[in-house]
Amino acid sequence: MQRLPIHSIGAAARGSLLGIEHLDPRDILALLKLARRMNAAKPRPLLRGKRIILLFYEPSTRTRTSFEIAAKSLGAITTLVQSSGSSIEKGESLLDTAYTLRAVGADAIVVRHPSAGAPHLMARHLDIPVINAGDGMHEHPSQALLDALTILKHKKSFKGLQVTIVGDIYHSRVARSSILLLAKFGAKVTLCGPPEFAPDLTTTLAPGLRLTRHLDEAVRGADVIMLLRVQKERLAGQKIHLHEYIERYQMTPARLKLARRDALLMHPGPIIRGLELTSEVADCTQSVIVDEVRNGVPMRMAILARALGKAK
């Protein structure tokens, strides 16, 4: 039986960024290269007159502001639409909202949504680029890209790089996107966390993933350590208690010493001091947590420029 690709209901418009998974490595490298030439302090009017809508169904500080500053630095007009105070509150469907935003003249939509796949649904039905700013537990591609940009400011390449990701991998869209990106470029990725947060299933995401329950083992010899935020509410009802989690998985100065001396300490934010990491670790010289936020702006400038065909 000839089987049609039942997955491809409609193609996303050129320039869309729905996830890292289906992104070509060359595309990723081109985006990173473009981001290195972007500087918010030196605005370039590449997107003058373009309308970019930021559609946020979930709260966000860094992603939203950095997309907004990125768009404005390129000369675009931005409009923020949030679920409260819009027709979404009145029960308008995601697609109807998308059609409405298209009709008012959006040239691209940046969307943050609590449901996995929401950007894909929009992209299948729209002829303008859709940029995923985080969808449920699925992906957060711009975060993975800005983390890649941050890593490459300190490390020559991803090939053979030992990267350890610690924490609630199962519920994390950042983890999924980062794992997919790093695996595409041959990094050696180790996942670490309790079974509730790092079930065996997590290693199916990409080839060559390693999983361990022991933080010391995971950190030893690492070039990059990525911590994930622990949502206290997720610990509720789990077998692991907060104090136990802290004891076994909190990043402390002593544990950080097990990594390479030039290891980078990363965290997508928001960080919870005293939970997944101590204050000393958050503020230590190896910590690039603030750099990540800073790099978010040029990275998102590159994403938006690419989306609207101005990737120069």
Partner: protein, 438 residues
Amino acid sequence: MSKATARAENKSLLIKGGHVIDPAAKINSPMDVLLRDGRVAEIALPGKIRGGADEKFDARGLIVAPGFIDLHVHLREPGQSYKETTASGTAAAAAGGFTSVCSMPNTAPVVDTPELIAWQRSPERGAVVNVFPIAAATRASKGTTLTDFAALQRAGAIAVTDDGRPILEDDTMRMCLRLGAELNFPVVQHAEDTRITEGCCMHLGATSFRLGLRAASGTAEAAIVDRDVSLALQIPGARLHVAHLSSADSLKAVRRGKRARARVTCEITPHHFTLLDEDVGEYNPNCKMNPPLRSATDREAILVAIADGTADAIATDHAPHADHEKQVEFERAAFGITGLETALALAITQLHGKHKIPLTRIVELFTAGPARVFDLHGRGSLVRGGPADVTIFDPKKRWTFEAAKSRSLSHNTPFDGWQFTGKVVATVVSGKVVYRAD
């Protein structure tokens, strides 16, 4: 049964030159079939039927089978006629070769009274095939108070179920099986431990993790099947039918029951023997159903059960939904797909073509098998004097399914554009041709 098709006039139809497969009657050979006055008048070797007929059907090169029975169809009436009506759903059934369908009670309101059963069976509904309603097992299918099984049975319900939801509480299920045993009334279980599956929208595996979707494994189904089989074994005369069985472990429980001679039966859907969880792809809402598409291991076990006789029937779980209920965030999309018009084609293409399951077994799963599950006497076999329900199909015909041309009001199918082998040529209900392929 709906009386819509009982006006078979005093007409006769001779189906000539076909190859009859009737597993219940152990027929698998060239035969002519004469239908008269809505009944099977004669089955005989080719050319042996004397006398004329008002109409002749040239069935050369075709399989002539007892009318197909679908144990699991959502006709959506009363209350959800924007998804489907009895008229549109039974037209789709006829196009899929089904002469009888069993309708599920999870409508709006839930079919939990004899009046609603009568309403469903009324000729005004415009059914073109036989409709055997299944009534709710508990009031409004809320899982607490049992409905009046005896009254529902008298009104024409053929079984009870809370389909769409499980009969979850041990005590409630025990009472259902007990009362069912007294009345010789089957209890159909939608086996799902909803305490585990809350918020889940697919099978737990690499695909659900990749897509970031909440998911549950087949254990959520198997635990309930296992519990139900144990209950059925404790209650003499209890009849348990497992709807849309999808997991390997559920089959273990069914086999345990069958070995111990409990009256436990199960049905398998075409989508579960065809697709896998990975077919959800990039959030295809037409691959979202409940129970969900499962792992390769589960599908393998299902194929074994189809071949070895553990499975009693192929049932579609035809679940039409409007576009606006499917083209939404995957988590929010309605569960279910249409299936009446693709069931036979999937069975022939997948089970026969790919997995070498004999056509006779496939016909059995559409006829004698389901007829036994609900004791639909006279159906599922071409017995002389029995209802003249016949399905005629071409097992070799290649065709492409186009959802847009479906007779169903809804088009939520993952099989749009699929190329199939095996097509229904004509469907005869009570001696009357209700569907004929162009």
